[in-house]
């Protein structure tokens, strides 16, 4: 019989005692109680991000350890660092549209002429003994009545971008189509890996799906709460939530096993559709509907459908390319007649994952670097004290290193042997052989750098996306020069300078004017689909026309993947 142990967890400023058993894995225990630190690699000991501080109560021995590597053998005090707060998305600019939502309020004068109400509602009306009532209804054949009120109710809707690493939401007044508030947060599923494959694998374990579904529902509830708190509204007045996310995240949130996405031909079990909030455990109005935006196929999900709608690509001049850069990179190519989509397993490098000093685009993240008076000058988000390097910082740094030959075309960081005019660069480079690093900040005992290993991660991510773009163009027989426009979306879609992305070869060389950075288009499209029925219908129709393409099996993929590794 294994001993019972007590862990005292210090998490988000609170103290909590939980019980565990000897030989339990610390990360597993923390996950069970929803208090796990981020774990991009899924608890395999590779990424070094699930670091916590443990204190042995009897001798006060403090140690900084990786939670996934610890098997318990005594009582412990465990201090969990806070997730990076993600702030970039608040202030997303949402395109305008006519307000014609599915859900609406109707005033009813109860007289002899009024047609029969559903039984339950009739009872409620008689009990209230009111002459005028209000109902919340949903358009459709037949119309559906959700609830009845004796005073004019609020009718709210929530648009959600369900990302793998972050979530963002906008609260709407469906009465007039007015945007009330925005909110964003880190996914609680981060403790189960930063990419969809590790989440998928986890969901296949006993109880894995239930556990991840609960977290997703909890996250959406939290976004609703945060948005409502900011707008002084009640979550119970939300009747519809439009959720756009990649296919794996959609399955997990809907509580449908994504097992078919684990094997060839990677077909989703559901493509989208309506679910009841009450059934999914999302705490808004119990009868509220959760609409999952229609997916395109395989790993290309509703977030892309949503982006296509937000940018109105169906009516834009062709050929055009739409790229959503996230943990999974998705690419849609609108040819003259056909539309193709594919996904590229870029990994989380461009979001700061698997990068030794990487972080989300939050306050203190180093977002760009330049040279001034023979010294590096860094810019951080909100001009806060440097705390790490985010996606745009990774682009900026890599492009900088390439420009000054600190990085060779094969992706190796050069040893510090600059002379002449650039001799001063030597002080930013440390180490030798395979363990060189480029140090961007080194003050007050804080050091932030890109290591050789980080560069290899960046190289893989860059090549995965670029090779996918190349294969898409090749298979549609479109030359890059023919493209009328390249739309780029992503959490940092509005923040990466074209010049940096072109310089490291992430994007095909085209005149900078052809690139358009569009921000979080998944969230933008969710808003449109919430506010306007016709646009939702249009998005569904477009999604059906897009053909999914598997690029990894293309005969030239391997060759391009190696070629595009070069900087």
């Amino acid at each position: 019989m294994l001993r019972n142990l007590t862990l005292t967890i210090i998490f988000q400023g609170r103290k909590k005692n939980i019980s565990a058993r000897a030989a339990d894995n610390l990360l597993d225990v923390l996950r069970k109680f929803g208090m796990a630190p981020e774990s991009p690699c899924g608890g395999t000991g590779k990424c070094g991000k699930c670091r916590v501080v443990t204190v042995e109560p009897h001798n006060k021995k403090r140690e900084s350890v990786l939670a996934c590597r610890i098997f318990l053998n005594c009582d412990l005090i465990v201090e969990i660092p806070e997730f990076n707060k993600y702030t970039v998305n608040s202030g997303e600019i949402i395109p305008e549209c006519e307000n014609k939502p599915y859900f609406f309020t109707e005033e009813i004068i109860l007289d002899e002429n009024y047609p029969v109400l559903p039984d339950v509602l009739q009872k409620k009306c008689r009990a209230a003994d009111h002459k005028t009532v209000w109902v919340i209804k949903k358009h459709g054949c037949p119309e559906k009545t959700l609830d009845i009120f004796t005073s004019r109710p609020r009718c709210l809707g929530l648009a959600v971008d369900l990302g793998t690493t972050t979530l963002a939401a906008v609260l709407y007044d469906l009465e007039n189509g007015k945007q009330l508030s925005q909110s964003s947060m880190a996914s609680s599923q981060r403790a189960f890996g930063h990419n969809v494959i590790s989440r998928l694998q986890y969901s296949l374990q006993p109880n894995g799906l239930t556990e991840l579904q609960k977290l997703a529902a909890g996250d959406i509830t939290r976004l609703a709460e945060n948005c409502c708190a900011a707008a002084n509204e009640n979550t119970g007045d939300i009747y519809e939530t439009v959720v756009s996310g990649n296919t794996v995240m959609m399955h997990l949130a809907a509580g449908v096993s994504p097992e078919t996405l684990a094997v060839v031909p990677f077909s989703p079990a559901i493509m989208g559709g309506n679910f009841k909030a009450g059934h999914l455990g999302i705490k808004i109005h119990n009868e509220a509907e959760i609409y999952f935006t229609r997916a395109i196929g395989s790993f290309v999900g509703g977030d892309i459908t949503s982006g296509v709608l937000a940018l109105n690509l169906a009516d834009a001049p062709r050929p055009l390319l739409f790229i959503d850069i996230g943990t999974n990179g998705e690419i849609v190519l609108f040819g003259e007649e056909k539309i193709f989509a594919c996904s590229a397993a870029a990994g989380p490098a461009f979001e700061g994952g698997n990068i030794s000093c990487g972080m989300s685009a939050a306050g203190g993240a180093i977002s760009s670097v330049k040279l001034m008076d023979q010294a590096l000058r860094i810019t951080t988000i909100n001009n806060a004290q440097p705390a790490g390097i985010c996606g745009s910082g990774i682009f900026s740094l890599t492009a900088f290193m390439k420009e000054y030959n600190i990085l060779d075309e094969y992706g190796s960081i050069q040893e510090p042997c600059f002379s002449g005019k650039y001799k001063f660069l030597n002080r930013y480079i440390a180490g030798s052989g395979g363990s060189t690093e480029f140090i961007v900040y080194n003050q007050n005992e804080k050091k932030y750098s890109l290591t050789q290993k980080d560069l290899r991660e960046i190289q893989m991510a860059k090549s995965a996306i670029r090779s996918a773009i190349d294969i898409m163009l090749l298979s549609a027989e479109i030359r890059p020069d023919d493209l009328k426009c390249v739309y780029i979306a992503g959490a940092f879609g509005s923040a990466i300078p074209v010049a940096d992305a072109l310089s490291i070869g992430l994007l095909p060389k085209l005149p900078p004017g052809k690139f358009r950075f569009c921000g979080n288009t998944s969230l933008q499209g969710s808003c449109l689909m919430l506010a306007n029925m016709a646009l939702r219908e249009k998005a569904e129709q477009t999604a059906k026309k897009i053909q999914h393409k598997e690029i990894a099996s293309h005969p030239r993929f391997q060759e391009l993947f190696a070629d595009n590794m070069l900087f």
Partner: protein, 208 residues
Amino acid sequence: MEILNQISELLQKGKMKDVTELTQKSLSEGIAASKILDDALVKGMSIIGEKFKKNEVYVPEVLIAARAMNAALKILEPELLKNNVKAKGIIVIGTVKGDLHDIGKNLVAIMFKGAGFTVVDCGVDVSAEKFVEEAKKSNADLIGLSALLTTTMVNMKEIVTKAHAAGVTAKILIGGAPVTDNFAREIKADGYAPDAASAVDIAKTFLN
């Protein structure tokens, strides 16, 4: 020979243009193609493989080196054929049915090619029947199976069973993230390799 060491060094850095130029030069200086293959290309790739095993280099460097190796092999191949140089062995390789992951499988293929083997790459999502057919057709010494998912790893068993039933004598070597030595024994495969470089080492012990 200095020039061959140079090729090996440049190959490890992935410098394709220099590698092909020096390979051409070595041939015109009268160095045998088989010697260039063994002492420059195979040597360079095995050093990369060792470093990869020890986590001193990562996937991009292996792929970039392989890119240079492939370019040099293209120059050597006609010469090798002319001189009737025999391959060290023949391996049929592929990712098993249901699985489309090919980076790991490609790395193993690269290492075998780099070690002087003839590699028959069946690609991804390969059925048991295809493995058996290709192994018979090429008279393979080895079959290499790769799987990255716990859900597809189980398909390896069927391949081993069908290969044995069809009288295929090639040794079967398996690998991939979820695969273990125990699993290899359980499904009666001949060996398990934890990484691409080890796969070649193990294969060599089978052939001797």
